[in-house]
């Protein structure tokens, strides 16, 4: 009993600390990556005893600054909701990770430990539910600030997230139909199979359009460029215009946590999660009959590593997108959401169901 | 009446007209330095050379009289070359110190070089060094290096001021303008030589290095120095207050008016603008409380003045209020004073004539003994029908208690002498002073209202000949000050009368309707040179 509780707490802490640290690293990465993309150097001045570490301490300096700053609440705003909003945002963004598997079952301390905080049979619905609840953070922040710009940002945020959530829902239906499960662990395991004996049956292979649409809608869901209308620095500053100190820091953190969440979901649903092509329980089985046998523990560790690398890659990719594309206009955003992405996802769904029906 | 052709345009002019005058009528510009319409003809600068058909050599346009059938060319290549050559000769020894020269910007050497010269200098020799920055009189400074010996100034002192202080000495390249032995250029018209000097040789000591001329804006006005009403331009610096210690009005220049002052004004008028930006200006309204002046807003002080006026009228009566206006006020100011005090309040004790103890004298040219610009207008407006004479009141040993005295721009201490003025003022319970500058009388008043000077307001003056001439606003009124007619209007409003004149033109419109001497006059008809009312003296009551 004690051991299993320790293991559960350990898993929670592992995921939580991993995600939060990755989010912190992403703030540094965003700076550095954008700088390298634009032929610049990027933040590199923060140092400890003259040791700069490529500006990594900037993250530390930023968080110290965030904590040390004045915590401002608009005098005419709603103090309670204003304080609550960033916590709601960050909380729902973080608990979504509970249902995401970061590895297969590992045999440790004489026990089979599932590398997932909680294996829900409706995991995917759970993740989407938490994502939808995240809207509350945005709306509350916009509304409680008693600021027209913040309010406008909140409104934009909620309508944008609603619109694209529908698309997200429709795109993954195809995946769910093919893998016939709502449990994320089952979906990942199903992606370990091979099509015609040599192509990994990853989501992206069986649902290429769905993958693309999911990426688009996912970026829209994170409210980052090119879909940063709720923020819109150059026009309205957005729903967190009246936030300062660590409350603002929480919103920023949420931003990056959501990026990681979308990267994890893409990995899980379309890129095989922790799967490595041709890696079975006892080692690699390449199509030509060539085999490399490995121990069960090392396979599990390789799979975790594979999951991490994939998530990291998609984080990088999302940053690349964020620093490449300009912001949409609001009408363009809505048109894209309702008139392009959503109808295509419906068509994709129809085509998938037809194929599934025919191939069965 | 010969008819001639200049540049293919023909014109008929009276006998004795010179080519330059005929060309002027055709708006053809002929460059000139020595020619001045107010002076005799010298023909010394040779800038006005023109080509006359059938005359083999160039003729100076200023000194050649027109004849029947004359054909003149002023813009042929030959003429241009000749003029450019003359200019090159004139500039041979010119120091080209435009950066430090006050004339720069209004210098005819600069202007004609850009229009007719534009050659490259061929002068390789050293320029002749001469006297620089030589003070030759109380108002004028001479730089002989810049002089082109046009002799305008010499002709001016000989022909206009008849004071004969300067002349041209030595010969050839050594000739230069010098003072005659034992003399300095000190006459009441000496400032005019600065105006007529086409170059920077004679400059004004008063204006020296105060400001560059291109910073100045020009406003047409009338000199308030005496009853002649010389036409002037106020040159004011509105944009750059760091010059001349923040002075706004920088200088006055005469403005041509064939009927009044021609091209000239006297030095007394020319340098009489200093009071406009003087530290003694009253810029804020104030009342005296327990012997100390207390500065309040203009509306508060006007309200207080209204209360005092109402109190005097209600408690004691109309006989207890005396209004002393001033011949320095414009016709519009005087009319509003008459309308409010005389007609609306029904006061009879309104006058402007204060006997002056220190009468100045005039001269036989422009300056008049009466140093007030609008005595004639004040007579016409204020002395309409009431028979009140201030002199009687002033001289009377008065036993009856007087309540309120309203003084407009009247420094009684100066005009009456201190003892008399004090005695007179002490007869009153309350003294209101409306004026622009602090003086010994304003200090004695109980309530002071700041009025704008002539440069800060618009309106009309009537000169001693009955010529109504317009003054225009050159600068904004200082501080809280307002034109007198506006102050009186506000006072009237404080007592419940409706005075809503928008501008001086509206006041003048009513003035023209109501005052018989001004009938048939309209503000816009006055124009730049004024309108004479010939029968103003006959209509006088």
């Amino acid at each position: 009993m004690m051991t299993s509780l320790t293991i559960e707490v350990g898993k929670v802490l592992l995921v939580l600390i991993g995600v939060l640290n990755l989010a912190a690293v992403l703030t540094w990465m965003e700076r550095k990556q954008s700088a390298v993309m634009q032929d610049r150097i990027g933040a590199n001045r923060a140092s400890i005893l003259g040791f700069r570490a490529f500006g990594l301490f900037q993250v530390l300096a930023d968080s110290i600054k965030m904590f040390a700053k004045e915590d401002f609440v608009p005098p005419m705003g709603n103090r309670f909701l204003h304080t609550l909003a960033p916590f709601v945002s960050a909380f729902f963004a973080l608990i979504g990770f509970a249902a995401i598997p970061f590895g297969n079952v590992i045999h440790l301390f004489g026990k089979d430990i599932s590398l997932q905080v909680i294996d829900l049979n409706v995991g995917i619905l759970y993740v989407f539910a938490t994502m939808s609840l995240g809207i509350y953070g945005v709306v509350l922040a916009g509304w409680s600030s008693n600021n027209n710009y913040a309010f406008l940002g909140g409104m934009r945020g909620s309508s944008q997230m609603f619109s694209y959530e529908i698309t997200i829902g429709t795109t993954i239906l195809g995946v769910l139909m093919i893998f016939e499960s709502l449990s994320l662990q089952t979906i990942v395991q199903a992606q370990g199979e091979l099509l015609w004996g040599f192509i990994p049956k990853w989501g992206v292979v069986v649902q290429p359009i769905g993958c693309l649409l999911f990426l688009v809608a996912g970026i829209a869901e994170t409210k980052r460029v090119p879909f940063d209308l709720p923020e819109g620095e150059s026009e309205i500053i957005g729903y967190f215009v009246e936030y300062s100190s660590m409350k603002f820091g929480l919103f920023m953190l949420t931003d990056f946590v959501e990026t990681i969440l979308i990267a994890s979901l893409v990995t899980t649903l379309f890129f095989g999660g922790w799967q490595i092509p041709y890696l079975m329980r006892d080692g690699f089985h390449f199509p030509g009959g060539f085999t490399v046998s490995l121990s069960g523990t090392s396979v599990s560790l390789l799979q975790v590593l594979s999951y991490c690398v994939k998530v990291f890659f998609f984080c990088w990719f999302l940053l690349l997108v964020r620093w490449t594309l300009p912001r949409f206009r609001y009408d363009q955003l809505m048109r894209l959401g309702w008139k392009m992405v959503f109808p295509i996802s419906i068509l994709n769904l129809l085509a998938t169901s037809l194929l599934v029906l025919l191939l069965r | 009446m010969p008819t001639l052709t200049i540049n293919q345009k023909s014109i008929t002019v009276p006998d004795g007209t010179t080519i330059i005058q005929a060309a002027e009528k055709l708006d053809i510009e002929i460059p000139r330095y020595c020619y001045h319409p107010g002076l005799s003809i010298a023909g010394s600068c040779r800038m006005c050379l023109v080509e006359v058909e059938k005359i083999p050599k160039f003729q100076p346009a200023c000194n050649t009289r027109v004849s029947e059938g004359m054909v003149v060319h002023t813009n042929t290549e030959k003429v241009k070359e000749a003029v450019s050559g003359v200019l090159e000769f004139l500039l041979i020894n010119h120091p080209l110190d435009c950066p430090v020269c006050d004339q720069a910007g209004e210098c005819y050497l600069q202007e004609y070089y850009m229009k007719f010269g534009l050659y490259d200098s061929r002068m390789d020799e050293n320029k002749i060094k001469r006297h620089k920055a030589e003070i030759i009189g109380p108002h004028v400074i001479l730089d002989t290096e810049r002089c082109i010996l046009c002799s305008r100034c010499v002709r001016f002192v000989n022909e206009v001021s008849h004071s004969h202080e300067i002349g041209i000495f030595n010969r050839g390249s050594q000739s230069e303008i010098r003072l005659l032995p034992g003399k300095i250029l000190d006459n009441n018209y000496s400032g005019n030589v600065v105006d007529i000097c086409p170059v920077g040789a004679l400059t004004d000591r008063d204006f020296r290095f105060q400001c560059r001329v291109w910073y100045l804006s020009e406003t047409k006005s009338i000199c308030p120095g005496c009853s002649r009403g010389c036409n002037i331009s106020i040159h004011s610096n509105r944009q750059r207050p760091h010059h001349a210690g923040g002075r706004r009005v920088m200088r006055l220049k005469p403005r041509f008016n064939a009927e009044v002052n021609h091209w000239w004004i006297c030095d007394e008028g020319r340098y009489g603008y200093k009071f406009i930006d003087d530290p003694s200006r009253i810029s804020l309204a104030r009342v005296k409380e327990k012997g100390e002046f207390l500065v309040l807003t203009l509306d508060q002080v006007i309200g207080r003045a209204g209360e005092k006026l109402r109190e005097a009228l209600e408690k004691v009566g109309r006989d207890s209020v005396v209004v002393v206006a001033s011949p320095r006020l414009t016709n519009e100011d005087l009319f509003v004073i008459r309308k409010f005090f005389g007609e609306d309040l029904g006061l009879s004790q309104i006058d402007f004539r204060v006997p002056d103890q220190n009468l100045a004298s005039g001269d036989d040219f422009l300056l008049r003994a009466d140093r007030n610009p609008n005595s004639r207008g004040a007579e016409a407006v204020l002395l309409d029908e009431n028979g009140f004479d201030l002199t009687q009141l002033l001289s009377m040993e008065n036993s009856r208690k007087l309540q309120l005295l309203c003084l407009f721009e009247q420094d009684l201490t100066k005009t009456l002498g201190e003892a008399w003025a004090k005695k007179f003022l002490q007869q009153f319970e309350y003294v209101i002073y409306v004026g622009s500058n602090e003086n010994e009388t304003s200090v004695l008043s109980h309530l002071t209202l700041p009025s704008a000077t002539y440069a800060e307001t618009e309106g009309t003056f009537t000169n001693f000949e009955g010529r109504v001439q317009k003054i225009n606003q050159a600068v904004e009124p200082l501080g809280d000050s307002l034109p007198t007619w506006q102050i009186v209007s506000k006072l009237a409003c404080a007592l419940g009368y409706r005075y809503n004149y928008e501008n001086a033109e509206e006041v003048f419109g009513e003035l023209a309707e109501r005052v018989v001497e001004f009938q048939d006059l309209a503000y816009e008809k006055i124009g730049d040179s004024g309108v004479e009312i010939p029968d103003i003296s006959k209509v006088q009551v």
Binding site: D39, I41 | P99, V100, K132, A133
Partner: protein, 163 residues
């Protein structure tokens, strides 16, 4: 703004998006390669970024660069300026304030009693230098760090400008 009619592929947007990603990705990897090469000491010549590390590393100024003004001096150390106010006149920002005075030497005549430049207002257009007939004002000091704690301190007086 005139806008060009977009072609069909451009209106599809997705291709353009990938083109954009290709471009920025190209920069990213190219620069990363150069950064790495420098870090590992393989190629010190190629820099991964165009950045100058400002306080330590300074971009060399071109000789025509317009930096803070200075007033030139005569041989005896007095300012060459004769207070002709050409610079004050031509200044589009109206940030030069000159007050002229009478110089004891009649051959100089005029000199600036006050010559202030409000560098908080100056737009560094260099017109004053162009306009000066005496070569009395130059913008060749190379001083670009002009900052102060108050607007008043941004006004440089004749003593500061002569140094």
């Amino acid at each position: 703004m005139g806008s060009r009619e977009l072609s069909f592929t451009e209106r599809l947007y997705i291709i353009e998006v990938f083109k954009g990603l290709w471009l920025t990705g190209h920069h990213f990897f190219g620069n990363m390669k150069r950064h790495l090469a420098r870090q590992l000491g393989l190629n010190r010549l190629k820099k991964g970024a165009v950045t100058f590390q400002y306080p330590e590393e300074r971009r060399p100024f071109s000789p025509r660069y317009r930096s803070r003004h200075r007033l030139t001096k005569r041989d005896n150390g007095s300012p060459r300026c004769v207070a002709c106010m050409m610079c004050e006149t031509v200044c589009p920002a109206h940030c030069i304030y000159i007050v002229a005075g009478e110089h004891p030497d009649p051959n100089i005549e005029k000199f600036p009693v006050r010559f202030d430049i409000d560098l908080g207002v100056c737009v560094f257009c260099g017109f004053c230098v162009e306009a000066c007939p005496e070569d009395a004002i130059r913008m060749d000091t190379g001083i670009v760090e002009i900052a102060a704690y108050s607007r008043k301190e941004m006004i440089y007086h004749i003593e500061d400008l002569l140094q």
